[in-house]
């Protein structure tokens, strides 16, 4: 089986349209600022429980969303804020879910780890490590059964990649040629356990070979490389050849969740990634050196994004807590929404 070698380093001056580049910059920045704000609100006691920030990993979802088409689906773990923003969910609704308010995507009943949007084909938000993997394959199964050409992006972590159900799923996904892109977000840690301490074999994507699944490793700090690989994967799946694995090498800057003292890695290690490999800084430099944008242009984008995030925080503070009667609703459905959800304009 011809698995791919890691993609060659992106050329110095990548072949990418200015508008696309600006869009990636915006999308990644929105996630970062949103997450920083969420961290703040957590610190103020407005967000409770577990809250897993995506800071550092923004290029992964932004790059892959750039490779997705209308109607494609996505499903991920509890570290899900970035995925939701990247697929176009409203920051207000996401933030208000974090604060547990009526205006949240799940009316305050799901929380940070459990949000969904039929409209945006976002299928969660799953708190059980790796549970989303067969679910993602199941979504792909449904699309294949229905005979459309949609693809499902199934995201999971390096920690999740050691769960048995991942391999049960690989087997069936390849056996049944399911149009599923398995995206391993290898941020090198599962809580406090580095991949070196949890995993004997050095690369996760290569495990697909045992099931006949093609795949590759991707530089997850480079949004263009992610998009490139994403396009290859999507094309492969859409053409009916079955699943594809992308192991995206990335890094989370913050603790696992808000209460992680992060003693398992050095400050220097984090600092080095931030200074040398930051995905937003990377695009910023491309924009500046390519003369696609001036410092002032970027400043005004920063300002716009800050406003969007501040508005979402205001909304999330002002939206009321759910009515007490909500305790007893949504346990059983009387009927399900029929047919395909409408794509927002």
């Amino acid at each position: 089986m011809a698995a791919r070698k890691p993609a060659a380093k992106a050329a110095a001056i990548p072949n990418v349209a200015k508008d696309d580049l600006l869009q990636y910059y915006r999308d990644m920045l929105l996630i970062r600022r949103f997450e920083e704000k969420a961290g703040q609100l957590y610190g103020m006691g407005l967000i409770g429980g577990f809250c897993h920030l995506y800071i550092g990993q923004e290029a992964v979802v932004v790059g892959l969303e750039a490779a997705a088409s209308k109607g494609d689906k996505r499903v991920t773990s509890y570290r899900d804020h970035g995925h939701m923003l990247a697929c176009g969910m409203d920051p207000k609704g996401v933030m208000a879910e974090l604060t547990g308010r009526e205006g949240g995507y799940s009316k305050g009943k799901g929380g940070s780890m459990h949000m969904f949007s039929r409209e945006k084909h976002f299928y969660g938000g799953h708190g059980i490590v790796a549970a989303q993997v067969p679910i993602g394959a199941g979504l792909a199964f449904a699309d294949k059964y229905l005979g459309n050409d949609r693809v499902t992006f199934t995201y999971f972590g390096d920690g999740a990649a050691n769960q048995g159900q991942v391999y049960e799923t690989y087997n069936m996904a390849e056996l049944w040629d399911l149009p599923c892109v398995f995206v391993i977000e290898n941020n090198q840690y599962a809580m406090g356990t580095s991949t070196k301490r949890s995993t004997k074999s050095p690369s996760y994507w290569e495990r697909g070979a045992a099931y006949g699944i093609e795949g590759e490793e991707v530089d997850g700090m480079d949004v263009l490389a992610v998009k490139d690989a994403g396009q290859r994967a999507v094309e492969y799946c859409r053409s009916g050849k079955g699943p594809y694995i992308l192991e995206v090498k990335t890094y989370r800057y913050r603790g696992h969740s808000m209460s992680d003292p992060a003693k398992y890695r050095t400050r220097d290690e984090v600092q080095k990634m931030r200074e040398e490999r930051d995905c937003i800084e990377h695009v910023r430099q491309l924009l500046l050196t390519g003369e696609h944008a001036s410092e002032d242009d970027l400043k005004s984008i920063d300002k716009e994004i800050k406003e969007i995030v501040n508005e979402s925080a205001e909304f999330a503070k002002e939206s009321p807590e759910p009515d007490l009667s909500e305790l007893w609703t949504d346990i059983y459905a009387d009927e399900l929404p029929q047919g395909e959800p409408e794509e927002a304009a």
Partner: protein, 461 residues
């Protein structure tokens, strides 16, 4: 504008902490991500990072301070061009945000009533399951189950069945006999032996708009998949605020068969019946197997459909109707009686009916209620009957501790206490793993004799 830096909550339970050490001093410029201070929480020492950029204008809480409440202003951050003088009267120290305290949960004054308590007087639905005069045919439970699936698959092409040996082998217990021939391998799907994985795929397919029927060779093996059943299938509607449901049926034989030992003999009814978000069906007769399975397949929620290997071959009357369904949450009264109410479901009904027959010979008139579904459960039928007979015996094959019978006994105690002339007696399996030896296995299950004894106990005979 100058902003206050507040003492952060750094864990789900933190209310105050020690400001162990400042890593910046007044006048320092900081950028997002720089560490400002070390803070000791109830769990650990954490580094506290700057979110905004600016200059540290003033430190309000010195290092070494203990018991600093969350949300206390601990420093002032200045924007470009500002000076400390601009903020001389900064930061009333204990101006904790009220929202935070509220969010941390003063208990609501009054919780809404529980749904089950809403109607104090039971109003059982005693309408017949089929019109009078309907022609009946004799069918085994096995045939009835197959017909139910086949009829629903003809009716809705989103319905498909998957599981181990369901297609080419025609089902390990021959429930899917002939279905591959009729519907083809797109809709009757043999899976590898990977319960956890194919259950999750089923759940995903349901999220994606299909209506899967997942067959477990037996429910003992569904233990490998129980996470997907409970955490993914049952809870998603609630966690999504009603947006995303999971219309799926998990079915297969459950409980003791004959001489297959501890790992193949457990009755899981009580486990699943304890989970909000699931519906749980445990039919006894062939007509119920058929009518309830058709209802299960059409239901927009995840349904656990618990069959029984011993019942598969039993024959019952089934109404000959084009589209026969049985609603959930409606018990069936198999025998009317005045002296005692026997409540059972699934294979427990064989003991209940046998005992009632024998008790009648002794002049004891038992009312036998088949619950048919455990979630929703027809409390009204049970309570109305108990209010009439004043005595109740329950019959099931599950383990006795935290059994569904216990739940019924407690409900009857709470809602019909004044009507009871004797404590509710529960006949269940014994509190042991299922033994293999024939005589021990028999002893481990409940029996007609036990039911008769229980009835005599509550009727003081």
């Amino acid at each position: 504008m100058a902003t206050e830096i507040l003492m952060p909550a750094l864990s789900p339970t933190m209310e105050e902490g020690t400001l162990a050490k400042w890593l910046v001093k007044e006048g320092d410029e900081v950028a997002s991500g720089d560490i400002l201070a070390e803070i000791e929480t109830d769990k650990a020492t954490m580094e506290f990072e700057a979110v905004d950029e600016g200059t540290i204008g003033k430190i309000l809480v010195p290092e070494g301070s203990e018991g600093v409440k969350v949300n206390t202003a601990i420093a002032v951050l200045l924007d470009e061009g500002e000076s400390v003088d601009d903020v001389t009267d900064a930061a009333p120290v204990d101006d904790a945000k009220p929202a935070a305290d509220e969010a941390r949960g003063a208990a609501p004054e009054k919780t809404p009533a529980r749904v089950a308590d809403e109607h104090p007087t039971p109003q059982p639905d005693s309408s017949p399951d089929w019109p009078e005069g309907t022609e009946m045919v004799q069918q085994t439970v096995r045939e009835a189950l197959r017909d139910a699936m086949a009829e629903e698959m003809r009716r809705d092409d989103h319905v498909f069945v998957m599981g181990e040996e369901v297609a080419e082998y025609n089902g390990a217990y021959k429930i899917t006999q002939g279905m591959l021939d009729e519907f083809g391998d797109k809709r009757v799907i043999d899976t590898p032996i990977t319960e956890h994985g194919f259950t999750g795929i089923g759940v995903g397919a349901a999220f994606g708009g299909l209506r899967p029927i997942v067959e477990f060779m037996t429910f003992n093996f569904a233990m490998q998949a129980i996470d997907q059943i409970i955490n993914s299938a049952a809870k998603t509607l609630y966690m999504s605020g009603g947006q995303m449901g999971c219309p799926i049926v998990f079915r297969g034989p459950n409980g003791a068969a004959a001489r297959v030992g501890a790992q193949h003999s457990q009755d899981y009814a009580a486990w699943y019946a304890s989970v909000p978000g699931l519906k749980v069906v445990q039919p006894y007769s062939a007509s119920d197997a058929k009518g309830l399975l058709k209802t299960a397949i059409r239901d927009p929620n995840p349904v656990i459909f618990l069959e029984n290997e011993i019942l598969y071959g039993k024959t019952f009357d089934v109404p000959k109707l084009d589209d026969f369904t049985v609603p959930f949450g409606k018990a069936r009264i198999w025998r009317e009686g005045d002296d005692v109410t026997i409540v059972s479901w699934g294979i427990g009904m064989t003991y209940a009916m046998d005992a009632a027959e024998k008790l009648a010979e002794e002049g004891i008139s038992a009312e036998v209620i088949d619950l048919r579904t455990l979630r929703p459960v027809d409390y009204d039928a049970i309570l109305a009957s108990v209010m009439k007979t004043n005595r109740c015996v329950t019959v099931e094959e599950g383990f006795p501790v935290a059994s569904f019978s216990d739940h019924l006994a407690s409900t009857i105690m709470q809602r019909a206490f004044d009507y009871l002339d004797a404590p509710v007696v529960t006949c269940t399996g014994k509190d042991v793993p299922m033994p293999y030896a024939a005589n021990l296995e028999k002893l481990a299950l409940t029996s007609t004799t036990e039911v008769i004894e229980a009835v005599k106990q509550v009727t003081y005979r």
